[in-house]
């Protein structure tokens, strides 16, 4: 048996949790560094995985299978394709960045915070690599609790309202998803002479679905339940109302992970499970979902323009950007799907960076109101330069990665529905409007009275802060110039996605 690298990546943070529990909580510096150390080890392992991953063939690699609950055919089954690998690397990268970015801002209950973050990482990685439907659900739920604590304990003044809203929205979706998962497994079991073997196995379920064996009414109901769970997480309009609250109240690193990874869980679920397992239903609902996506794109952008709070603005821009992702998924084109996944990664890098940058200003000013800012370009030149870079990336400047993802989605969806594609392009103008206008108000002009009152506290960003931003910026440039690095990895997953989704089209 080869090295179980997927289990290693997944449970390295858990070992970190165990290590943290024995360190007395008064040694805060040791606690911080231990957590960072384990997050870095997980990151290193995930980079190894990326290098070792065989680019050519489709299908899943590094599979691990252990029987877990044989009575129901539930397995501990892991495996990765190109999509999963990218998501795992995104997760491990953003996790260590978040932990490093929390060194300064988090001063209370450091140990609990770091433990929450590492448990969160276990859940997030697990979701992206689980190939057993039930195991997927368990990892999915594990993500919920640490994020609930991170927002609720270390968040802003209205944190309790925000975290309860986050949990309740997510739980409603995920519990209905559990019913759908069980119904699917039961349909599979009933179709196999009552044998539970493989009833939760992704490969077997997908093969069964590809054969058109899942009845249409089951598909409709199960798809709706899964769609609700994933749409809440993405979040799609009109299920997005928890997001601005959660983002605004979460600590900086919590927002980074929320935007960078948690929203991707929903999109990943749609690509991996909801569409391939229920292709008939996916096609039935494709148009309504496309319309909702476009609404989200436009609505998110328009609402962003009027936001008075920096973090809320970035949060609403997420709704808009993630709308592109769901649009890219449901037009069922290889180009658009590759664009959608690229957009997921871009959004993780860019929005993660924006939240970090906003957090840095908040650390110094304890305020995020755009109207109180002004003239930061003079007071914090490096910060302003980097902020400008991320703003341009978010607005889709050609040469940076944000452009490539959105462009591919336009191209892919243009073939299906030119009107939709055109409507989305208009939004790029809106995006430039709200982002550049915000940048102008924050960075240019004379130093505002509020900021002048802070005097010497307004220092430019530190070396550590630059370290947290650098990997994101590098990623944005590299993916902007060489998108094929990612697109090659996605060719296999895109083809199998279309093959799975295409069944209902053919007949």
């Amino acid at each position: 048996m080869t090295l179980p690298i997927l289990s290693l990546i997944t449970f390295t943070p858990l070992v970190g949790v165990l290590a943290l529990t024995v360190i007395p909580s008064r040694h805060e510096e040791i606690v911080r560094r231990t957590a960072l150390g384990f997050a870095l080890v997980a990151w290193g392992l995930s980079l190894l995985l990326l290098v070792a991953f065989a680019f050519g063939p489709g299908g899943f690699q590094f599979n691990e299978t252990v029987d877990w609950i044989p009575a129901f055919g539930i397995q501990y089954k892991l495996g990765v394709d190109g999509l999963s690998v990218l998501m795992v690397v995104l997760t491990t990268t953003l996790t260590w960045i978040s932990i490093l970015a929390s060194f300064g801002p988090i001063k209370e209950r450091v140990k609990g915070y770091m433990i929450s973050f590492l448990v969160l990482e276990v859940g997030m990685i697990g979701v992206f690599i689980a190939l057993d439907f039930f195991l997927f659900y368990i990892f999915w739920e594990i993500v919920l609790v640490p994020m609930y604590l991170i927002i609720g304990i270390w968040g802003g003044s209205n944190r309790i309202y925000a975290t309860m809203k986050f949990v309740l929205y997510t739980l409603v979706g995920s519990l209905l998803m559990l019913v759908a998962i069980l119904a699917t497994a039961f349909a599979f079991q009933a179709g196999h002479g009552g044998s539970w073997a493989g009833a939760f196995d992704y490969g077997q379920l997908q093969a069964w679905a590809a054969g058109g064996h899942f009845a249409n009414d089951l598909q409709i109901l199960a798809f709706l339940a899964l769609f609700l769970a994933f749409a809440i997480k993405v979040p799609m309009f009109p299920f997005h109302t928890w997001l601005p609250d959660a983002h605004t109240e979460a600590p900086t690193a919590g927002s980074v992970i929320l935007a960078g990874v948690l929203l991707k869980l929903g999109a990943y679920g749609l690509i991996r499970f909801a569409v391939p397992l229920y292709p008939f239903a996916a096609h039935t609902f494709a148009w309504p979902i496309i319309v909702l996506s476009v609404v989200a794109i436009v609505y998110g952008a328009i609402v962003s323009i009027v936001q008075p709070d920096l973090k809320r603005l970035v949060a609403y821009s997420s709704v808009s950007h993630m709308g592109f992702v769901t649009l890219g998924i449901f037009v069922f084109s290889a180009t658009a799907l590759q664009g959608a996944v690229l957009q997921m990664i871009n959004h993780g890098l860019i929005t993660g960076g924006l939240f970090l940058l906003v957090g840095m200003v908040y650390e110094r000013t304890h305020d995020r109101t755009i109207a109180k800012m002004g003239g930061l370009a003079a007071a914090m030149p490096i910060w302003s330069t980097v902020f400008g870079f991320f703003i341009l990336a978010s607005a889709g400047l050609p040469g940076l990665s944000g452009f490539v993802g959105e462009f591919l989605i336009f191209v892919g969806s243009f073939g299906v529905a030119p009107v939709i594609a055109l409507a989305s392009i208009v939004v790029m103008v809106l995006a430039a409007t709200y982002l550049l206008w915000m940048f102008q108000r924050v960075a240019f002009g004379a130093l505002s009275d509020f900021l002048r009152g802070l005097g010497g506290h307004l220092t430019d960003i530190s070396g550590t802060e630059l370290v947290t931003l650098a990997p994101l910026a590098i990623g944005i440039v590299v993916l902007g110039l060489f998108p094929s690095l990612v697109l090659d990895l996605l060719r296999g997953p895109a083809q199998s996605f279309l093959a799975a989704a295409g069944v209902a089209v053919g007949g």
């Binding site: 609950i69 009575a71 609790v145 609720g152 944190r159 975290t163 209905l176 019913v179 069980l182 039961f186």
Partner: protein, 486 residues
């Protein structure tokens, strides 16, 4: 009666002897609390060994009135665990309030003896007698803090409604006896199978069915027969509330298994709609009312009503043709026992010093003031919510699995159960919010419970985790459910 009969009912006999021994020790060595506690815990240990020695064996005693099978063993183990845990949690709470330990332990063991007798009853008369043996000591326990008006009020409500429901149940049993001419479960089953095969059931039998359903629903605190629960739970001393929330409830489900699944099995198509309605009402109303509670004990009381609803979903799934509903009930019963007792025990730990209320404000800042107690409570509450990989998650998953498998209306019931579970997250997590996200209102010292108490908390927590990570107990539950064919 023969000696082999005594061997078959050995756990019940042992349990009665333990209760008697506690009283004798108290008489011989007054004020020696260690001796009393040691007798009680040691005695229950012996009872557990006796039960385990019977594992895998089958037999019947007293002409078929009492049966020893996998179900008996499974339920007996749960009941003994409940008794032992209640004593572990009770000592620290009863003593500072000047209440007698020996009476507490002896009454408790008598009650649990009744529950164990229910587990093995395959005769309607024995079933009723066993039920009364279980609930009568329960009334006494509910009023155990006799100088506390709330305790007395709760006990009186519990007693009046409990006696009333027992009478209703007995009335229903009488109808069954009148129609089938026997009180033996196998005889009743055979007679009713003929009735069921004949098509419609007589009005008398329908009346009996209605009375029995109402009686059992009272005992398990299903809506709309739940009125006694919140008052009895809130008024009782907290460790006794922990007992009342699991002991009589699992006992009532034992009756449901022996009576409805066993004796009335042939008529299950007739009682299925009743169970569906009861389940839907029970979980929905329990959760809705729990949301608005500011007292954690009362909140847990309503949440226990909601859990009754989830367990009833398993019973409905069985009646709907899915045998796995029965193992789901048994697994749920075991998981619920430990996580719920654990949650009540944390409340009891906080109330160790007299005068501390069970209002939610007491929990403010608990995570910082008392990190271990806070973490344990968080585990129990997350398990009650149904977050994987804890015991409560698997309990819900098995019930839902059975219901989804049964299909039709039961799938809708499963969806309703999940919507309820999401709503329940609100009030469970609200306690977590208070523990970890709010500062304490006043300076409460850490409650530092005694050694016995810590052992009890440790056991419940470990079991909540073990059932979650290694759901192998499900296999035992499946074995036990195998008693009813399938």
């Amino acid at each position: 009666m023969s000696w082999s009969d005594l061997g078959t009912i050995a756990p019940v006999v042992a349990s009665v002897l333990v209760a008697a021994a506690i009283l004798i020790v108290d008489l011989a060595l007054p004020n020696r609390r260690q001796a009393i506690i040691a007798t009680a815990l040691g005695g229950l240990g012996i009872v557990a060994v006796v039960i385990l020695l019977q594992a895998g064996h089958t037999g019947s005693a007293f002409g078929g009135a009492y049966s020893l099978d996998n179900l008996t063993v499974f339920l007996d183990m749960i009941f003994v665990a409940i008794a032992a845990l209640t004593i572990l949690f009770g000592v620290d709470y009863i003593e500072p309030r000047g209440l007698p330990i020996a009476e507490f332990a002896a009454i408790l063991v008598f009650a649990v003896t009744g529950a164990m007798l229910i587990a093995g009853s395959t005769d309607l008369v024995l079933l009723f007698v066993a039920l009364e043996l279980m609930v009568l000591p329960g009334y006494v326990l509910a009023g155990f803090a006799r100088r506390d008006p709330y305790s007395t009020e709760g006990a009186i409500k519990y007693f009046l409604l409990g006696s009333f429901s027992s009478a209703i149940l007995l009335f229903g049993l009488a109808y069954v006896w009148g129609i089938t001419g026997t009180t033996r479960v196998d005889g009743v089953t055979a007679a009713l199978a003929k009735v069921a095969a004949g098509g419609s059931i007589q009005p008398g039998l329908a009346m009996g069915l209605a009375f029995m359903s109402a009686g059992v629903a009272f005992k398990m605190a299903a809506v709309p027969f739940h009125y006694w629960t919140p008052d009895a739970y809130q008024g009782s001393p907290t460790p006794i509330t922990a007992y009342l929330s699991v002991g009589p409830k699992v006992g009532a489900f034992a009756i449901a298994l022996r009576l409805f699944v066993g004796a009335l099995g042939p008529l299950r198509a007739d009682w299925l709609p009743v169970v569906i309605v009861l389940a839907a009402l029970t979980m929905t109303l329990g959760n809705l009312v729990a949301i608005s509670q500011d007292n954690v004990k009362r909140m847990l009381a309503y949440s226990s009503i909601a859990h009754t609803g989830y367990i009833l979903v398993g019973l409905a799934a069985y009646a709907g043709g899915q045998h796995s509903g029965l193992s789901a009930i048994l697994f749920y019963g075991a998981a619920y026992t430990f996580m719920n007792m654990g949650a009540f025990a944390v409340v009891a730990a906080l109330q160790r010093r007299p005068g501390v209320s069970s209002q939610i404000a007491t929990f403010a800042g608990l995570g910082r003031r008392d990190p271990w107690l806070g973490a344990l409570m968080a585990v129990f509450l997350l398990s009650l919510t149904g977050i994987p990989p804890l015991a409560g998650f698997w309990a819900k998953a098995y019930v839902i699995l059975a219901a989804v498998q049964a299909g039709g209306w039961l799938t809708a019931l499963a969806v309703l159960a999940m919507v309820n579970a999401a709503a329940a997250a609100f009030y469970y997590l609200r306690v977590v919010v208070y523990m970890y996200m709010r500062e304490p209102a006043d300076e409460l010292r850490p409650s530092s419970p005694g050694l016995l108490f810590r052992v009890g908390l440790g056991v419940t927590c470990v079991l909540t985790l073990v059932f979650g990570l290694f759901p192998a107990i499900a296999a035992a539950a499946t074995n036990a459910a195998g008693v009813f064919g399938g």
